[in-house]
Symmetry: C2
Subunit: 455 residues, 2 copies
């Protein structure tokens, strides 16, 4: 382990140079124009894994973007890690808000800026560099490792569950490790034990079958934009609770113990508000910012459009209005159930003048992971070795639906050892990843591999 740590230290600059190659590939999975770029990123990873000396590396097809699979399995007596990551990235728009082009990585003040630098190319790359550090110094990894890197995470991991189902044997392991979450704060080590789920839909209301002149017809035609606004508006009450009938039925309430733990975490509301760039937070009545963003369900419009949206004035009464709505769910809310309940809400409230189109875009379950397992203990010890203090066990607001799938399909728990920060702007312009955290991540993973091997 010490040799591997020293290797990582000596070769760190090279790690960053290599990562930049991967970051230059615009592997935007949700945009059909980038299909070839997503494949290029898969091929690049495959070549890179081979160059490290990993014996078995394969780009495996799915109904969508490919999965990169690799393994180094040497000793059936040693435990086996299944390392998951994703090499696809969010769309970079709005482009004009980036200080430097999203696919031309730059380092400023020790921070690497590029789409995917944190989510998740930079973080999955830490695992490859940890493996390299062992392979180039002792010749072998301290345990068996399997790698599964997908190209559809930002598009809902649509084909991954079927892939796992079809490759159960291949993917058999003792525990899953994922680095796709954030530290609790800068310099505050943490391991994530709770994730929110996701339900994401698109709704279109159609009134008149064409755009109409607002002067000639205005006053006797119900306007789909106004009606959609009314329906969206009524989705929250004055306490910022969600009004969809039955929405909270399966929400596991926070225990007093959990709320005490939340309150004891090193979190400063005012700092958070300043960092986010708002004047004030707005949570469900009775819950703190931390509870609201990680342990309570939410509903947000992600995009809305309808009618004339160009420059100047066009006096149309629009034919259609559309909205994208996503809900972050908590255990035990089911995305299918919630999607259906929202559908009923829209159906019930669609006036007789309108037609409703309701499309499920994607969904995934939330997860709560056992914090007492030997893998969690090893992860905790590994991070303590790097940071000099025990990591906190925390919940996060984001969604990694695959964690629930790994549990359901392979029976595996997941260790969520991530090194991002909420301020890394991972779905925003100027996404970034501090090189100190990239380094700490590689070091933590090197330690974790040895410690877990010996448990």
């Amino acid at each position: 382990m010490d040799k591997a740590l020293a290797y990582a230290e000596e070769n760190f600059d090279g790690f960053v140079t290599e990562l930049n190659e991967l970051l230059r590939i615009p592997s935007v999975s949700t945009n059909p124009d980038h299909v070839q770029d997503v494949r290029r990123a898969a091929d690049w990873l495959s070549d890179h894994l081979k160059s490290l000396g990993i014996e078995k590396v394969e780009v495996m097809e799915t109904a969508g973007h490919p999965v990169v699979y690799a393994e180094s399995v040497k000793d059936p007596n040693l435990p086996t890690l299944l390392v998951y990551g994703h090499y696809d990235v969010q769309p970079p728009d709005p482009l004009e808000l980036w200080d430097s082009p999203p696919f031309e990585p730059v380092v400023k003040d020790g921070v690497l800026y590029a789409r995917g630098s944190c989510d998740d190319k930079g973080q999955l790359f830490m695992h490859l560099k940890a493996a390299e550090s062992y392979l180039r110094t002792g010749g072998a990894l301290p345990l068996n490792v399997k790698y599964i890197f997908e190209g559809e995470e930002e598009n809902g991991s649509e084909n991954l569950p079927a892939f796992i189902e079809a490759n159960k044997e291949l993917l058999s392991a003792d525990v899953v490790v994922i680095s796709d979450t954030a530290l609790f704060g800068s310099g505050v080590p943490s391991i994530t034990y709770g994730l929110r789920g996701l339900a994401y839909v698109e709704v279109t209301l159609t009134g008149p079958d064409r755009d109409l002149h607002s002067g000639v017809y205005g006053g006797a035609i119900e306007n789909p934009v106004n009606v959609l606004a009314r329906m969206i508006s009524a989705l929250h009450d004055d306490d910022y609770r969600i009004t969809i009938p039955g929405f909270y039925d399966d929400v596991i309430p926070l225990t007093d113990e959990e709320r005490t733990t939340f309150a004891s975490l090193p979190f400063d509301d005012q700092e958070w508000i300043e960092e986010v760039g708002v004047t004030k937070a707005r949570t469900e009545t009775g819950y703190s910012i931390l509870e609201g963003t990680t342990a309570r369900p939410t509903l947000d419009c992600n995009g809305i459009w309808g009618g004339y949206i160009g420059d100047g004035a066009k006096t149309v009464l629009p034919s259609k209005a559309s909205v994208k709505i996503s809900m972050r769910l908590v255990p035990d809310q089911s995305p299918e159930d919630i999607t259906e309940k929202l559908k009923k809400y829209f159906e019930y409230n669609t006036p007789p003048t309108m037609k409703l189109a309701y499309t499920e875009l994607h969904g995934g379950n939330g997860a709560l992971v056992d914090t007492e397992s030997s893998a969690m203990a090893a992860a905790s010890e590994a991070m303590e070795g790097v940071y000099g203090e025990k990591p906190y066990f925390v919940r996060t607001g984001g969604s990694i639906p695959i964690v629930a799938d790994f549990k359901k399909l392979l029976g595996l728990d997941t260790v969520l050892m991530g090194f991002g920060l909420d301020s890394d702007a991972i779905h925003s312009p100027n996404e970034c990843f501090g090189l100190d955290r990239f380094r700490d991540g590689v070091r933590s993973i090197i330690r974790f591999m040895s410690i877990y091997a010996s448990k």
Copy 2:
């Protein structure tokens, strides 16, 4: 007059061919990309007026698109018409809904399809063809005529009032004539005596200073799309009345007499509903479709946008949300006053988490014209000569703010003799103009010129 009518009959096909030349010029005034096209349309009109033998023709500059001015003033003892029209057109989008390209006119079943065919190139062209019919047969017009054709009507006629103000002498006349309205129904002759006004604004709410990850931040951030939806939603009450404080203060209520006249007009609610392509009308409680669309004020969202509006799912919590809102006003509502009241509404309801940007895009006064004037009598007699029955005096829902300006700045009443139909889709895809109405329009104007000259 008879010779002129015969000439128009014989040369009608040629009139259509010439009109098509003008319709091929995409003179979209609201789109800066079309600045040169708007000027081309002005030049084309100027050349055409000269070719008819009109003595004085000039393309006159304004701070925006030019005005085409022409006059044939021969005898100070004859009355003088001021004919107004506009040669600019609405944007053609959404392009994919046109059955044929908007700027490639085609005739199908006696109907001419093209952007501007009815609004207003086709209608202003009737005046030129009426003049031509006199000039090519008797050598002179039966009265004095001044023409003023502007290129900014669809953009709010921003520079026209200043132009009129600066050219009061030049524009002095006895009455204004405009063909930019619709017949009450197919084969139902009518003259418009009431127009609605317009106030058009754009509102942008900004919450966080960048798009945020909806998982990481959702649950503690107020979402500008949701907030804007709430503010839009609350602009109407359950009776579809507008809730802006003071909105109805200056509305002249409909008299019992007016309501009786409305009820007696040949109007079939069900036919209207089918023609518009909706399942049901929605009016302010207590008002008919006809009253709602012509004599009551309205508020409609013309366009809305914010967040991610591309394909697929992007889990952003948007930084901004915007809406374009237009209100149709009735006498004596003032656009400035209403714009200010709506601004106060938005300011008052903007939560402390948001910043508001409120922009006035354009406005114009409504108008009620005296139905008893000699010009109105001449117009009525002219149309009776063509249609075999007296035209109805009606109100219309659209706005021609310049009518109020002609009254205010020149002291002139306006005769609104239009030959469109509400089904001409004038601000929609597949805008059209029936050639029978184009022909009736030319004939009505020829008759009007003679009859008014002799009054």
